[in-house]
């Protein structure tokens, strides 16, 4: 009795993939859920796992072949009947999939389904320590995958008896990573944990709690990214000990600066390192990002063109209307809505910039889903604002605000991150004056915004001081020619320097 291995659903609008690499040979024994083959698409590389245990039989598609979603690419013999691989699930923070209690009064904490084709995660940070009381649904631990971070919540109230995986360990979907002991007399577990007494205030995945003075000093002196340091203190706080231990085990990483000068790790050497080098494994997120960046560079003929914008008109508009705006719409009027609207106008005029190369075809898109890059403790993520042409300024601001918050809280879903047609990236918040942003494949262009800096400029024959911003448009020259790229940027500049154009669709 044999079971077929099928190409699973790979993501919206993905209809086929290329067999990248078979991980098992014909005749190999395979366990259920063991990865069998890597499939490559233009967006992701996906592993297909064995739907059953058994022996890998005939392979129906060779490496390099293109296969369609649903195609049968092999079979497994002599397996017990099993379900097909779990259907695509959004990587939101699901309730932990618990195996039944393994003995009187204990409940296992398992690694939940993480998302289509995501088979493993790394333990990022334990939010509760052994011996601490936990309430039902209270976040216990943060898991990191190559797309998102998510929290696993306590499946029962009780005391965290054991952590069975340490921070940094790789764990598979379904693995048991901890146990909660629920014994002791009958406290009802249905309590909606109003205020668990150990004064754990807001869930620790929220923006990192304030750093204590010693931690502040160490982080500043050693140029550390506090978000990357495992915290064992109360409420998810960092203690001095946490920082010292982190420095002993890893070299200090520079704080991410998208295109600013000196990406070199300029940090002074941490206290007393035995060796002159430290080797630290990359997180899945970083591996994935590295891979995609290289893909972008290797695939596209990427160039960058520059222009500058006089922000004074936009700032004047903001100043004039910001209070009324906030009063009416309940959200601050920022710059991003202007940029998004300007981008939509320009994209409508220059459709190639909104397009995508797909094999020998160019896909021109009639919708405008714009990604807005957000820096989170886990790294850079680019959630997408859908149908920007249909949204008003307030709606855009609200959505960006919400996506940013969810990004920092580690709550973005896979759906939030895929399918954009164009990207906005703001290096200005870090102080960047000018940069060459890298494309976000499979998009064909990305607009880089930078620091607004007062500069003397010539208007006519007069020298005046204006708040200026350099704009950079990196684009794929295979689909966008130079004239189109330059014109695109000029259109953006015009819209921003004269916001009335946005009103009149000019």
């Amino acid at each position: 009795m044999s079971t077929n291995i099928q190409v699973p659903a790979l993501g919206e609008s993905i209809t086929e993939a290329i067999i990248g690499r078979w991980l098992k040979k014909e005749g190999d024994a395979v366990a259920v859920d063991e990865p069998l083959v890597e499939l490559e698409t233009d967006k992701v590389t996906v592993e297909v796992n064995a739907p059953v245990a058994g022996t890998l039989g005939a392979i129906a598609a060779a490496e390099g072949e293109t296969v369609e979603v649903g195609a049968i690419i092999g079979s497994i013999g002599d397996g017990a009947a099993a379900d097909t691989p779990p259907p695509a699930a959004a990587a939101t923070a699901p309730a932990a999939s618990t195996t039944p209690a393994s003995g009187g009064g204990t409940v296992d904490v398992g690694v939940p389904i993480l998302g289509e084709s995501v088979t493993e995660a790394i333990i990022g940070r334990w939010l509760k320590q052994t011996g601490e009381a936990v309430a039902l649904d209270e976040p216990l631990v943060e898991l990191e995958t190559d797309k998102v971070s998510l929290e696993v919540n306590a499946p029962a109230a009780g005391i965290l008896a054991r952590q069975q995986a340490a921070e940094g360990d790789t764990v598979a979907v379904g693995a048991v990573i901890g146990t909660i002991s629920t014994d002791g007399t009958a406290a009802t577990t249905s309590a909606p944990a109003a205020a668990p007494a150990p004064a754990e205030a807001a869930p620790a995945a929220a923006p990192a709690p304030q750093m204590s003075p010693a931690v502040r000093r160490l982080v500043a002196e050693n140029n550390l990214d506090a978000g990357r340091i495992p915290a064992t203190g109360k409420g998810g706080r960092l203690t001095k000990a946490d920082v010292l231990a982190f420095m002993k085990s890893a070299p200090p990483e520079p704080i991410p600066a998208p295109a600013a000068p000196a990406p070199a790790p300029a940090a002074p050497a941490p206290v007393e390192r035995a060796a002159r080098e430290e080797r630290v494994r990359m997180t899945p997120l970083r591996r994935r990002v590295a891979q995609r960046l290289k893909e972008a560079q290797n695939t596209a003929a990427m160039l960058t063109t520059f222009n500058e914008v006089d922000m004074s008109a936009m700032m004047a508009t903001r100043t004039a209307y910001k209070e009324v705006f906030e009063k009416k719409h309940g959200i601050r009027l920022g710059f991003m809505s202007f940029f998004v609207k300007a981008a939509v106008t320009a994209l409508k005029d220059l459709p190639a910039v909104n397009g995508e190369i797909d094999g020998d075809d160019i896909i021109y898109k009639n919708y405008y889903d714009i990604g807005v890059a957000v820096s989170t403790p886990q790294g850079l993520v680019v959630p997408v604002v859908r149908d920007c042409d249909k949204l008003g300024f307030a709606a855009i601001e609200k959505i960006i605000h919400d996506l940013g918050k969810r990004g920092r809280d580690g709550k973005l879903t896979l759906g939030d991150l895929t399918g954009g047609t164009f990207t906005l990236s703001n290096g200005g918040v870090f102080g960047s004056l000018m940069s060459t942003p890298i494309l976000n494949p499979p998009q064909s262009a990305i607009l880089g915004m930078h620091k607004i800096q007062k500069r003397p400029v010539a208007i006519g024959d007069d020298i005046v001081i204006r708040p200026m911003m350099y704009l950079a448009l990196s684009y794929d020259h295979r689909i966008v020619d130079g004239r189109e790229a330059v014109t695109f940027l000029v259109r953006i500049k015009e819209c921003l320097e004269d916001p009335s154009r946005l009103l009149l669709d000019l």
Partner: protein, 469 residues
Amino acid sequence: MSEKNFDLVVIGGGPGGYVAAIRAAQLGLTVACVEKRGSLGGTCLNVGCIPSKALLHSSHEYWTALNKLAGLGVEVGDVGLNLKTMMAHKDKVVGDLTKGIEFLLSKNKVTYIRGSASLKSATRVAVTLSDGGKESLDARNIIIATGSESVSLPGIKIDEKRVVSSTGALSLNKVPKHLVVIGGGYIGLEMGTVWQRLGARVTVVEFLDRILPGMDGEVSKSFTRMLKKQGFTIRTSTRVTGVKSTGRGATVSVTPAAGGDGEDIKCDAVLVSVGRRPYTDGLGLDKAGVSLDDKGRIKTDRRFATNVPGIYAIGDVIAGPMLAHKASEEGAAAAEIIAGHAAMVNYNAIPGVVYTDPEIATVGKTEEELKAAGTEYTIGKFPLSANSRSRVNDATDGFVKILADSASDQVLGVHIIGAQAGNMIGEAVVALEYGASAEDIARTCHAHPTEMEAIKEAALAAGDGAIHA
């Protein structure tokens, strides 16, 4: 016999019991609190913390008036002592506070039942009412918070007139010429301080080789010196073999703890403060099947549950330091657990305070405990003689000592001797709760001029060095 139904019955209305009752009521449970004393507040409010602090305050004022005011330019003429008035003040404070607790219970809709409770089963409490009559309470949960009582030494009878426990020591009707305090723990030293300030000669007799056993060794040693300077006679490693009381006075017979010739100490009053035992008399624990440990304390797990489901116990009647604030923490936690929340008590961060002069306050580990555990630690110590405010107030006896982990700088213990120690220790407790390092404390701004700056300086001393010493 009337029957009543409650989500929770708390037996005992002391700092453990009444706090548990109020917290449970806040969380929506129906609660009854049974207390047989005739007033709420337990040992603490009635015959412990509060009356002793009232007398410590009054006696301190008397002593200051007698000894210090003239030097400050305040001329008061002849200073006299009216002990009756002093006691009346103490009684008034106690009365006001116990009534205050009654008000709190009623405000939170806790049913206060005056009577003596005993367990009929895991869900039934029988009460013999103080006014007469009986009541039976159906309880879904029970918290036993019956506290503790003084113990004496075998063969030594306490009459609460000449040979007194701490209770009697709070109400002596005249200042003894010579008071012998048996037991060099905090209760004995505090009561000794009261009477010494009021003019008594005080001799402390302690069986172990130091007073305040259990405290950091350097603290006991330093404090012994301070007491001796104040005029106390401290006899350590001395065993009491008997106490005889006559109409005119008392005699305390002692021998060296290691053996040797005995001696008789003549005195006018004897305070027996050798410890307290958990109080479970008449509770009917055997009826309900509740187990005790070998020290007579009710056995509980870390969620304050006894071996009988639905019955919990907190405070002096279970293991742990016999402190009012420990009982209150446990009471609140037990109430939250019963109401279905997660709660715990962090026993590493419970402060201990001795309200003598100067005060002593500590939290966390002693040097002896750290040495025994093999933990490497650094010491940051700062004398109050170098603290401006202490100099201004002419209260320079004492120091702040911070013990921090050598590797991580995490604060492991803080020990303070000083006039304001009881207040100062609060900062150390918060620091311990948040896993602070000594550097964190050193880099936190402390107001000037206060005694609190001594804490910052001690923290600095644990690192690169104090600024002001």
